[in-house]
Symmetry: D2
Subunit: 337 residues, 4 copies
């Protein structure tokens, strides 16, 4: 940890901080500069957290050297993690596609979607039973009935299913019906939910919050691992920027960025990431090219009748065509599909 | 609602959409332009939501004319709402200050803080018993013990208290101990929590999410009002931008912006809004000047010992001095204090 | 154009605006809604610009239907444009790589870089003679001497060269030495410079500003085409967001977005777009995958001795390896290389 | 300067960097940590710039301790600077208002505006003769004729005038006609222009770029001071964020932030900062409250006829009323007006 003092700090301020560092069992370093004093602390700086050095009135800023997360860190585990999902899991040298409608709307819709995405080569099915909606007047999902439909489709197709849950009650309700929980962007820092999911034995797909940094995403995953559940997949789904011609700005550099700092698998959601049907396929190809472990994509038998996100969904024919074009990019990136 | 078709749309696409609008009971308007067809729908466009016109493959974009919220809207209620909090409430022609530490750390700390902020003229006390923290390794709050301390301090000082809750369980636990619930920025779109708070009879201070637009903030409040609880105070606390020398960018234009669109009271949190002690007072003065109904501010008996946010807290002497300087700005804005 | 009036607007305000539209030769449409009046104007709305309807005190907002640009628009020209650069140009079905150091530092450095990038398959060379630097204390470029070195390397290798110019004086000085001008992100809206470049007969690579929308980028290109120079290549190079672990956030959705709206070629700069050497190759692969016409990339014989941007430059061996891996992605995207 | 090495760095990498620091005449400090080595350099770190340590393949990141600017820094000059403008200047204990139309459109318009803003108590007049416009099809300004009108109005009213210039040619043309140059947000990093203005003997009002950090704004000012012109006023005018209901997000924390780091005066432009007429007055009051040295505001005799920015301009009656309400805020902030 590097501590920069304010220009008006006096010798006794330096002394106070140096002795705090020593007391914590770290090695202090005194560096008087031309304009300001800088103090270093050598050792495991996480121990220093409880001394709140940044709150000292004479401290200008504190720079941490170590990453604030541990269990999710590449420093901790050098090899890529493969997380359970269906027969082959997510991560490693496979590129997987999880496809399906934004929301479960009926058994007929899901069965049609499930059969089609399976035939086209998807490795998993998505569908929302509980829907987080900005407006209380929008469709809020089918709940338990939706979960049962998902389970039926999973059994029929043999494909694992993912669904979003927004609180502990939903997680418990959904537990027997699905193969993986999705934590949506709006809940990435719902720490109560993360803690609960850390105690369940189920794969979690954790989406990056709309304004979350990569470090914050990794810290959110750390909450889950820290409770004992190592099966977390990270998902880039676009961040909020000033650009308004897309719903979000898909930050594909998050893929190599996360891969560098963490051993967890990373997938990309090009549907929410752009919000525009025409850009979904190019961004999925790009995700495969930059090293992602898969994508999660919205496909609907009839997008113009979708209860939500129809404008960013592919129809079944478009999806079939898309899958054919996707494969060479995954292969060029050294993955199988 | 204004619907712009893609350049390649054909007559039958226009006809299909025009007939949808008619079927919904609205008046359709056909506007063929030089490059594209535009279609209007006159009447209460919220009815059209369920037809998902934006998902039609030949629709380029849909512009909504009416605001998507109703109950929180200034169109619905012209006069300013005063929300219950202590003896005078929040809103109307008073400017109120809610002050206290970020987290409840001990009875001694809270009693000292409570007595001091009361003496300096605060109208309410804040203190966190449950703490949302980016890292699982940071202090997570005292929980129920913290709530009891808050209640004691409230009884001693006669001031109402606010505390943050993050889920339904915490809301129920905190219900008998506090006068208002705070929904933090990370939970602004925790729709399960908002729905629950709409069913409780307690004032809610709803903070704007770090990347939430004003429209999204008003829709989040709409969730609470829609369930039957009209007592919502909105709180600007800074948004996330590219600027890194402050913790957030405090968007004070949110104050007149919300006042124009909604009848609900608006307060400002200059502590989280800047994250820098030196900027807290100037931003609080600015909040008073631009018409806010109050501020929520972090004050700690000993900031360098604070478990969290010490770097943005005023100490008790600084707070006393601050309150004296604040008053003329509130008066100039036509408020009493 | 769609004009939404304020709720307090009266009949005479509507009448005034309707008659303005008529006077301009467009067809007015009156749409009285439940809460507000909406007025439409059918025809070439650009004519209405001079009436400044948005400034009317009773106008709440104005929505434009047509894109504000014309010459760069895909509506104007359906086929992809190929812009002159070397023997094959930029655009169409080729994927090109322009490589070289951030700044020209010496003849030896440029010759070494030029020979190596040529050998590895690059289609053009980049190098800065004039450098825009945030600090007046940083290296500002070699100027005319740098241009002469670029010309020599171009003659030796047979590859065309690109260099950044920042004002008209530099454009005129550089005119005989280089094959294309680069307009940097900071100058994307330097309208004097754009106008000047529109009058010169030289290819322009126009980089997107750090906080420019796609519409603003296309309007900046429109300035150049409007003066008579049709040879503009657009370049995505990252936008500024809250994420600090990369220098910028590379917005690859800009590629299909621009391709949809404009006939001009689009290239990507993964070096400035990420600022981190380890992410340059993955982002270049992704750029090829999503349909870009090429990339511009920083390569330096000895990155740790580079006067600028060494931390994002590949060395010559890394570049050679990179080019081999890039090709399959370009081929999968249907391009030759 | 603090240098963090990558985990895979070896002893010889540390040695190489330590010896570089020593060679530069600074004192090196070796801090081997649990996961990575950290190296410190004590002394004037600006000397190290030329060694490009950040480009070393084994360097993970470099943290600078000193601010990168010198002449504009509060460390350099403790007292507030007063910059020449009219008889009293900008800065110190006065709060000044510069008002006028966005663009000079005619002698009649400017004379009317000039007389009115003078009568209401403004200390200066603004008006654009050269207009930077996103679209080449928008009004581009009256040029020299506009400058002559500005000079006439200045002589008539006795008030100094400000006008925007976009390049050296305009600066030279405008030199005899105006009292201060404005550098617009789009030109904040037009380094050629900044260098030129540093060589002229005229006050410069430098607006913050739409996506510029405070550090970058101060570095842009440093360009001007470094060339010999100390008369720079900084202007906060809103930054670009995700919020779309305002034209920009006015970052008022920039005022205390700049005051802390620099001795230069700071003014605020609430017109461009919000883009909405209704929010201009509240934001101007807030600017006065948080310690700004003045505001620059758009006032037009007939906003609905304005060639640009009419939707954010006050009319003459609104301005007169505004000035009366503004004064108490300036007084409460300890300024005279």
């Amino acid at each position: 940890m590097i501590i920069v003092l304010r220009p008006e700090a006096e010798q006794r301020d330096s002394d106070e901080i140096l002795s705090l560092i020593e007391k914590a069992g770290l090695k202090p370093l005194y560096m008087p500069g031309v304009e300001r004093v800088v103090i270093g602390a050598i050792g495991d700086e996480r121990i220093l957290k409880k001394f709140h050095i940044e709150s000292h009135p004479m401290v200008e800023k504190v720079e941490e050297i170590l990453s604030p997360y541990k269990l999710v860190s590449r420093d901790m585990k050098k090899t890529d993690t493969v997380v359970p999902f269906g027969k082959d899991g997510i991560g490693g040298n496979r590129f997987i596609v999880i496809a399906g409608p934004c929301a479960v709307e009926s058994a007929a819709q899901m069965k049609k979607a499930g059969a089609a995405v399976k035939a086209a080569g998807a490795a998993g099915i998505r569908g929302g039973a509980y829907k987080p909606r900005s407006s209380p007047y929008s469709f809020q999902g089918m709940g338990l009935d939706g979960l049962k439909i998902l389970k039926d489709v999973s059994l029929e197709t043999g494909l694992p299913v993912v669904t979003e849950i927004m609180d502990q009650v939903e997680a418990e309700e959904a537990m027997p019906y699905v193969d993986a929980f999705q934590v949506g962007a709006r809940n990435m820092q719902n720490f109560r939910l993360l803690t609960e999911l850390g105690q369940l034995n189920k794969t979690v797909i954790l989406k990056r919050g709309m304004s979350a940094t990569i470090t914050e995403l990794l810290l959110a995953a750390e909450y889950i691992l820290n409770e004992g559940n190592p099966n977390v997949v990270l998902c880039e789904r676009g961040i909020r920027t000033f650009e308004t011609s897309t719903r979000n700005t898909l930050d594909l550099s998050a893929v190599p960025n996360i891969k560098k700092h963490s051993h967890l698998p990373v997938i990309v959601d090009p549907s929410h990431g752009t919000g525009v049907r025409d850009y979904v396929a190019p961004m999925a190809f790009a995700a495969a090219a930059c090293g992602a472990d898969g994508i999660m994509i919205e496909v609907h038998p009839c997008p113009q009748e979708a209860e939500s996100d129809g404008q960013q969904s592919l129809n079944l024919t478009q999806f079939e065509d898309f899958m054919k074009k996707l494969k060479p990019f995954a292969l060029a990136a050294g993955k199988t599909m």
